[in-house]
């Protein structure tokens, strides 16, 4: 067990990784999914891992939840080594993966939760009371007796979260918890998790997401991960404040054909992102530059493409801008590139 000398005495970090590397056998050559990842998460923190698809978020979660061994490096959860003390790690954690609904379709929501409670050895009466409370809190108690196979995606995901909380984990791992959910259900789920961590239990949460707003809204600290490497790690506020000396400009232009890739490598351009909307035949563009005048150079180059500029605004930095400043591109291009490979 590893300890940290803190103001509260001898306390282990909730999560600590040291130079964790994970290499998978690829079809042609080995793929490095994690490259010397070192993070520490303190007890009671909601910590976000933010990155595009394929960045290595789920790989790290799998290592921390004892489902995967690191190729090299060390990782500790609740002070226990994930490779050597897996059984002890499992006693303090829980994992909820978005888009997945573990359980048996032929059993009711209630019965599934009871079954999962037994995996943690909860006395049956305690389990039943806890299930009732969680179902009421997550607002799906009316479906308690409905077979899981008949539940909608949103309710299945609530069931999944309830399962994750049943064993009262000290450290909760959430892998893309709002994947595929509608806006309202996502919002409710996010606020429930924050409540659970902050007000009720003081539990630690490690959350992976590729939704910027989710990380911004929920997390005390965020690590930005790209291609297996941690590029930055701080509170969302401080990450954004670091960008204050740069200028961020958002523009919308008239054609879906507009292409802003010409800004790559331009002097004074830190990064950019673009999103095309086929419905409105427009392209939204966000660029981060060192000085405002560089933007006028971009505009004049854009005129050569015969597109109409619909709007131009200066913007406050967001976590996406932090990502752009670190990688040079937005998530869209990153995920597009990932799909092409």
């Amino acid at each position: 067990m590893r300890f940290l000398v803190s103001a509260r005495g001898l306390m282990p970090h909730a999560v600590e990784t040291q130079n964790v590397v994970r290499v998978f056998k690829g079809n042609h050559k080995p793929v490095k999914a994690l490259d010397k990842v070192s993070i520490t998460i303190e007890e009671g923190e909601i910590f976000g891992l933010l990155g595009p698809n394929g960045a290595g978020k789920t790989t790290l979660i799998k290592i921390l939840t004892t489902l995967l061994l690191p190729t090299s490096g060390e990782a500790y959860v609740g002070g226990f080594n994930v490779a050597k003390e897996a059984h002890k790690v499992r006693q303090v954690i829980s994992l909820v993966s978005g888009g997945e609904t573990p359980g048996y379709g032929i059993l009711s929501a209630n019965e599934n939760l009871w079954f999962f409670s037994q995996l943690y050895g909860l006395p049956s009466s305690t389990a039943k009371a806890e299930i009732k409370r969680l179902m009421a809190d997550l607002e799906f108690d009316e479906y308690a007796k409905t077979r899981m196979s008949k539940l909608s995606t949103g309710y299945k995901q609530r069931l999944n979260l309830a399962r994750g909380l049943l064993n009262n984990p000290t450290i909760l791992f959430l892998d893309e918890p709002t994947l595929g959910l509608d806006v309202l259900t996502s919002k409710n789920m996010r606020s429930y998790i924050v409540d659970w961590a902050k007000r009720e239990k003081k539990g630690t949460v490690l959350l992976t997401t590729h939704y910027m707003a989710e990380a911004d809204e929920m997390c005390d600290r965020v690590a930005i991960i790209d291609r297996g490497r941690i590029l930055a790690c701080d509170s969302p506020l401080r990450l954004k404040q670091n960008l204050k000396e740069n200028v961020i400009i958002k523009a919308e232009v008239s054609s879906v054909q507009a292409d802003f890739s010409f800004v790559e490598g331009m002097k004074g351009v830190i990064g950019y992102s673009q999103t095309r909307s086929i419905q409105t035949d427009t392209t939204s563009f966000k660029v981060m530059v060192t000085e405002e005048r560089i933007f006028s150079n971009i505009m004049s180059k854009l005129e050569e493409q015969n597109v109409k500029i619909l709007s131009v605004n200066k913007a406050e930095p967001t976590l996406e801008d932090v990502y752009i400043s670190l990688v040079g591109r937005g998530f869209e291009q990153e995920e597009g590139a990932a799909h092409e490979t």
Binding site: R22, F24, K25, T59, K62, T65, T66, L67, L68, L69, H87, K88, R90, Q91, I93, S94, L95, S97, E100, T101, P102, G103, Y104, I106, L107, E111, W114, F115, F116, Q118, L119, Y120, G121, R163, N167
Partner: protein, 272 residues
């Protein structure tokens, strides 16, 4: 294992057993299928014996074989392959993240599967006996029960070992298990006595590596041929040896495969 840990794992086994029983009860169409389908196949083999004018006890051999096949099918598809389904729907991940012994989950599946299958097996047995008027000659019911339960023990221990293969190799294991169905039925002498002089020595040798062979042979002797413990003591010893060897081997295999899966990153890969 400490006492609380043991109690915890027994609770897990009970919970998994409970899921199994509930599941079996809620899909009654399977109850019918698992009675009717074996009876159809068995009937073809009984008619085949009739075509060559074999004595009636040979029809009894077929019925006993079919009855025990119900358990073998449950071991293979209801337990070993179940790990593969658990992986597909995301349950395996939850099991692996929980502080439990994998053997507890398998024990629950095994007992639940056994209870569900007993009903079917008895139904197949009775249907077969009634339809084909097979002569039954059980003079030592306790010996019959002993042989039966030892066979079940050995089969489910083997199933636990197979589960570790399914956990990691999913689709390959699925195909392998499907591939082995007929060869196992052939080698274990499910529908004919492998002790017959017609069966070549090599086949007899191979068949002695399968616990089902000893179980089937023993049950045939005590249930159809009216023999007693003095005729089946070798079967009993062989089955005990299988259980004693296979159970710890299953545990080792599970740990080995889980570790290998974690190293290769295949433990939670789907539909490979």
């Amino acid at each position: 294992m400490k006492r609380e840990e043991l109690v915890h794992n027994l609770k897990v086994a009970y919970a998994r057993l409970w899921v199994r029983l509930k599941g079996g009860y809620r899909e009654p169409e399977w109850l019918v299928a698992e009675l009717v389908i074996p009876v159809i196949t068995l009937s073809a083999y009984v008619f085949l014996y009739k075509m060559v004018n074999a004595p009636p006890e040979y029809a009894g051999f077929v019925i006993i074989g079919g009855t025990m096949m119900a358990f073998w099918a449950n071991v293979l598809w209801g337990m070993s392959a179940q790990f593969y389904w658990e992986k597909e729907v995301g349950n395996l991940e939850v099991y692996l993240v929980a502080p439990i012994s994998r053997m507890a989950i398998l024990l629950g599946m095994a007992i639940g599967g056994f209870v569900n299958t007993v009903l079917r097996a008895v139904a197949i047995f009775i249907a077969g006996i009634l339809i084909f008027q097979v002569p039954i000659a059980i003079y030592e019911p306790l010996t019959a029960l002993l042989i039966f339960f030892l066979t079940i023990g050995a089969l489910y221990a083997l199933g636990m070992m197979f589960a570790s293969l399914f956990m990691l190799y999913g689709r390959e294991a699925w195909h392998t298990a499907s591939l082995l169905q007929e060869p196992i039925q052939f080698l274990s002498g499910t529908y004919f006595p492998t002790t017959s002089q017609v069966v070549p020595y090599m086949v007899q040798l191979l068949s002695s590596l399968i616990p089902l062979t000893f179980g089937l042979d023993g049950i045939r002797k005590v249930a159809i041929l009216g023999q007693g413990i003095s005729d089946v003591w070798l079967n009993i010893i062989a089955l005990v040896v299988f259980i004693v060897v296979l159970l710890p081997l299953a545990r080792l295999a599970l740990n080995f495969m889980e570790n290998l899966g974690k190293k290769e990153g295949r433990l939670t890969l789907r539909w490979q």
